[in-house]
């Protein structure tokens, strides 16, 4: 039996079918003189899993807070379900937020934490019995049956994370925001939670917006990934597309899988201190400062003097060290001008090489798998 608290009205979902569930339009957020978000435009469709990737200071947590309704944007609009959210306080938006530090209520038990929204929201409060049933449902959903009466400080970090998730999902929010949900977990837990989160989202058919600084997480879990750089959206697309062609040097940098070499375009080639390669086919050859980009896994390491295959570009670098991480090994090199270069071998496909530290080697890659950005990274 649900009761409606007087005077409070939940924002009813509206909008035409096919209309994106969440629309952020031209949002700019300033704190005094500091511009934290700049002209952010994005759409999220119902049932999508979107991740937001960005380093700290990129404004990703602020974006979540704006969508959740803890603050109003300085400029721009946020629409949820076709309704404008400006002026609508957080508790009426039916948007859930799973906090980075979980923000569990320390004075309530696990079951009471999960039931909190159902029993205390401003609209549609559930009776104790109905809430209890929902709590049991949620506990089963996240795999925490039997912990209903535990105190919050009696459970482990991974369990707390799942309580936070259950608490938010219990109220069936239109959109679920997750602020670095896996940040506080150790590596093993993180790996298993990645799978569980994705399964949960699919099973509930919910819309997730998941913010993280970890590119692996962002790529692995998303239907679409948003890369934020200093308050602006650098790229917003399916992960495979972003990885195949990062739109800017910063996006490539955020994905942590690309070599980025600073230099300049001159006379139709990419030129630097002590090296030069032809421009990749199809890249604009406007003269000026530029960054050359090629993925770690595209690069081959050979002895100097090995004949260069057709259509490959190459460079001579000095081997510094290597990192072995189970399925891959990464070789680290220094360019003649001191910039770094890496080659990553996936050991299922290629055999590892034995390299001498301090020796020069010939590195090559298919020229058409590289890109050139007409900008230089700071």
């Amino acid at each position: 039996m649900a009761t409606v608290a007087a005077g409070a009205a939940q924002v009813e979902p509206g909008g035409a079918p096919g209309q994106p569930l969440l629309q952020v339009r031209n949002v700019t957020q300033c704190y005094g003189d500091k511009v934290v978000l700049r002209n952010v435009d994005l759409d999220v469709c119902a049932g999508e899993y979107v991740t937001v990737l960005g380093p700290s200071g990129s404004g990703k947590s602020v974006l979540l807070r704006l969508i959740a309704g803890f603050e109003d944007p300085t400029e721009g609009e946020i629409d949820i379900g076709g309704r404008n959210m400006v002026g609508v306080p957080a508790h009426l938006r039916n948007v859930g937020l799973v906090f980075q530090n979980f923000a569990l209520f320390p004075h309530l038990k696990v079951g009471d934490n999960i039931a909190y929204g159902l029993r205390n929201r401003a609209y549609n409060r559930l009776s104790a019995g109905a809430a209890d049933r929902k709590v049991d449902e949620m506990l089963e959903l996240v795999g925490l049956e039997g912990l209903k009466d535990r105190r919050v400080n009696q459970i482990s970090g991974g369990q707390r994370q799942r309580v936070a998730l259950a608490r938010t999902l219990a109220t069936d929010p239109q959109i679920v925001l997750l602020d670095e949900p896996l940040g506080a977990l150790d590596a093993n837990l993180r790996a298993s939670m990645k799978v569980e989160l994705r399964k949960l989202q699919t099973r509930l058919g919910a819309t997730f917006v998941h913010v993280t600084g970890n590119e692996e997480e962002a790529l692995a879990m998303a239907d679409r990934i948003i890369v934020l750089e200093r308050g602006q959206i650098a790229q917003f697309d399916a992960p495979e597309k972003v990885f195949a062609r990062p739109k800017t040097a910063h996006v490539a940098f955020a994905l942590s899988r690309f070599n980025l070499v600073g230099g300049r375009v001159e006379g139709g080639a990419f030129v630097g201190d002590g090296f030069s390669f032809p421009m990749p086919p199809g890249e604009s050859a406007a003269a000026g400062p530029a960054t050359y980009c090629v993925g770690y896994d595209r690069v081959d390491v050979e002895e100097i003097g090995t004949p260069l295959p057709e259509g490959y570009s190459s460079i001579v670098c000095k081997h510094v060290s290597h990192e072995y991480s189970g399925a891959t090994v990464t070789y680290l090199f220094d360019l003649p001008d001191g910039q770094h270069f890496e080659a990553q071998y996936h050991l299922h496909h290629r055999k590892a090489k034995r390299l001498e530290g301090g020796t020069d080697y010939l590195l090559w890659w298919p020229a058409n798998k590289a890109f050139v950005y007409l900008e230089v990274m700071e």
């Binding site: 339009r25 109003d72 609009e77 002026g87």
Partner: protein, 304 residues
């Protein structure tokens, strides 16, 4: 859906945003400031302003008239009975302040720095602080049987053969009053200073030692700055309380010592309101100068 279709709906939301962060919204947020400030302005600031105003009124035998004059002020600064009260107040304040600090700081250092166990630290601190929870007047009264000619102190001194005759200068004198004040106000210094010292991470001091700092250096560069908020807090407490005193002088000095507080009380007793107000304003100025001076040493607001 075209972007153009969206633009029309934006006009409405712009108004919504302005409304929320406008008058009603902002007023709703500001309401929390109102009760506290209203109470203080109405009931504290206004009476103080009244006091300043009345100090310029004309004083008749038992009444005051709102005719402005400087007579009261002149009387205050020309009659030695009154301006000596000002001097006494400042003098007693300095003595008590210095004495409480000299006595209390070693205690604070002992508890805060030398005692390792947290439990023992708490116990010792609580023991030193508990007298705060006893009645102020009871504490005054309790000194009488200590300091008198037949008092406990004299009995002990005579028994220990340190004196042959009971000391008579202990009670109903300025000395007795000062001793009483010191004991009463020690609590206010021990508390804050011990608290600040106990918060200093001992590894900081050890690190300084490792780097070769001597005791003096450690004192000057580590202990003093880190405990400063506690020192200033204690100083403010003691100063405010001592400067406004009248009960302890009245009881323990045998009415020999007159502080500004006593002047106010006696003047009010004879309904000389205007004159009392003059003393009040003088006291206010003294306290204001002391507080401002102490706050220049640390801005306490940052410490909370």
């Amino acid at each position: 859906m075209s972007k153009r279709g969206m633009v029309e709906t934006r006009a409405g939301s712009e108004k919504a945003r302005r409304r929320r962060s406008s008058l009603i919204g902002r007023m709703a947020r500001y309401w929390q400031l109102v009760p506290g400030s209203a109470w203080m302005i109405l009931f504290l600031i206004t009476p103080l302003l009244m006091m300043i105003y009345v100090s310029f009124w004309t004083q008749t035998s038992y009444d005051i008239k709102p005719v402005l004059t400087l007579d009261n002020w002149q009387a205050f600064f020309t009659q030695s009975v009154y301006y000596s009260a000002l001097w006494n107040t400042i003098r007693v304040w300095l003595i008590v302040l210095t004495a409480t600090f000299v006595i209390a700081v070693p205690v604070a250092i002992y508890i805060g720095l030398f005692v390792r166990s947290n439990t023992v630290q708490t116990v010792l601190l609580v023991l030193a602080i508990i007298p705060f929870w006893t009645s102020f007047l009871v504490r005054i009264v309790a000194w009488k049987p200590m300091l008198g000619q037949h008092g406990a102190l004299n009995i002990l001194l005579m028994k220990a053969h340190l004196v042959t005759e009971p000391l008579s200068f202990l009670l109903y004198t300025e000395v007795g009053m000062i001793i009483g004040m010191i004991q009463i106000y020690l609590v206010f210094v021990v508390g804050p200073v011990t608290f600040m010292l106990s918060r200093i991470d001992p590894s900081v001091i050890e690190a300084a030692r490792d780097l070769g700092a001597g005791t003096g250096r450690i004192f000057k560069d580590i202990l003093l700055p880190l405990s400063r908020p506690g020192l200033v807090t204690g100083a403010i407490f003691v100063s405010v309380l001592v400067l406004g005193e009248f009960a302890t002088p009245a009881s323990l000095s045998g009415r020999k010592v007159n502080l500004l507080g006593n002047v106010i009380v006696t003047q009010v007793g004879s309904l000389k309101w205007a004159f009392a107000s003059v003393a009040g304003v003088v006291l206010t100025v003294v306290i204001a100068l002391v507080i401002v001076g102490l706050l220049r040493i640390t801005d306490l607001r940052k410490e909370v």
